[in-house]
Symmetry: C2
């Protein structure tokens, strides 16, 4: 009986690792080939049998939902991290860099936002927490005098789309290109930045992560 | 004989209009459905017969090349316009706004840049003129003290990709979203902008329009 935990733990770690690998592979293939990529192709790329894949995710819809929920949850956690930063403008900048970093390193992450598939809707709770949190982060960064006052939270939708464009490059380019883009955006977001902005676009952040 | 010019002119205008419509429709369909969209679908959307389409463009490759050459030529002309501006930083800003405007209003325009189809290569002459012209515009805008000194011409490749992302939205959103994005980028491009930039990405403008 003393050995039980050490016997079980590796199995649990394996299972978790398996699940993570399936979600990572599925996310990549959904992006590259669309959401109708065959389950058999996902299993093959993940190095598991089709039966194993179906045992974990009985339907394609459940797999899509799991991929997107996972990615959205990671994003919502970044908002929490930013809010915990004692310097809100530093927290805001770190958040934008981190989200763009996720987009550059994981193409499935962008797909989660841009998909119009109902299954992709994040858990209502995660979504409201992220939206409220980002609005709060914006207000604090503006109050601290770091973020320009005419930034509106919905502008994040435009930045996510823009970073998505820069991230749609070969892997060795996506990271540096996205970082350089965010560098320019952050310089333009500073309260010190000069020049008026065109009006906000009719694009709600809420609609992007519907 | 006196009437000949007026009889010919309307025909010529019609023919030109027809060609422009075919190229516009083809550009849109190439973007929406890929470069293998049936020639019959292009003819139908352009409101002409398939025979007429084939008479003008005997092969799909010739049609693709014409669409992209047309769009690239428009872009190269924008560089010339910017170089003619007595205020180079104003010329630079106007150029960036105009290119992003083309991307927002004509999805085929982005496809021309981002396509990896050999037929999409712009005329060597147009390409060299645009690349040399933009490098010259950059140098002048920096010398005038408007554009930040650490901007490199290859950064335009990142901006084109970013605008492409913002333009991949419904038509009523694409314009305002792209303008707002360019507004932030221009604020970040100003020589007054604060904060260092991450290093340039390994992405050459020359390779984007190969």
């Amino acid at each position: 009986m003393d050995q039980a935990p050490s016997q079980i733990r590796p199995l649990r770690a394996d299972a978790r690792e398996n699940r993570d690998r399936i979600l990572a592979v599925a996310g990549r293939l959904f992006t590259e080939r669309g959401l109708d990529v065959p389950m058999a192709a996902i299993a093959r790329h993940a190095g598991i049998g089709v039966a194993t894949l179906y045992r974990r995710f009985p339907t394609r819809e459940e797999l899509v939902a799991a991929v997107f929920a996972d990615q959205f949850h990671a994003c919502a956690s970044l908002v929490d991290d930013a809010l915990a930063d004692p310097d809100p403008w530093h927290g805001f900048r770190t958040f934008l860099e981190a989200v763009a970093g996720l987009q550059a390193s994981d193409p499935g992450f962008s797909a989660a936002f841009l998909s119009s598939v109902p299954a992709a809707a994040p858990a209502e709770q995660d979504r409201e927490r992220a939206l409220r949190g980002f609005a709060e982060l914006t207000a604090r960064a503006q109050a601290a005098g770091g973020l320009r006052p005419d930034f509106v939270p919905d502008d994040l939708a435009i930045f996510l789309l823009a970073a998505c464009g820069a991230a749609a490059t070969p892997p060795e380019v996506a990271g540096p290109a996205t970082r350089r883009l965010v560098g320019y955006l952050l310089a333009g977001l500073s309260a010190d930045a000069t020049g008026p902005l065109p009006p906000p676009a009719p694009l709600a952040l809420r609609d992007l992560i519907h």
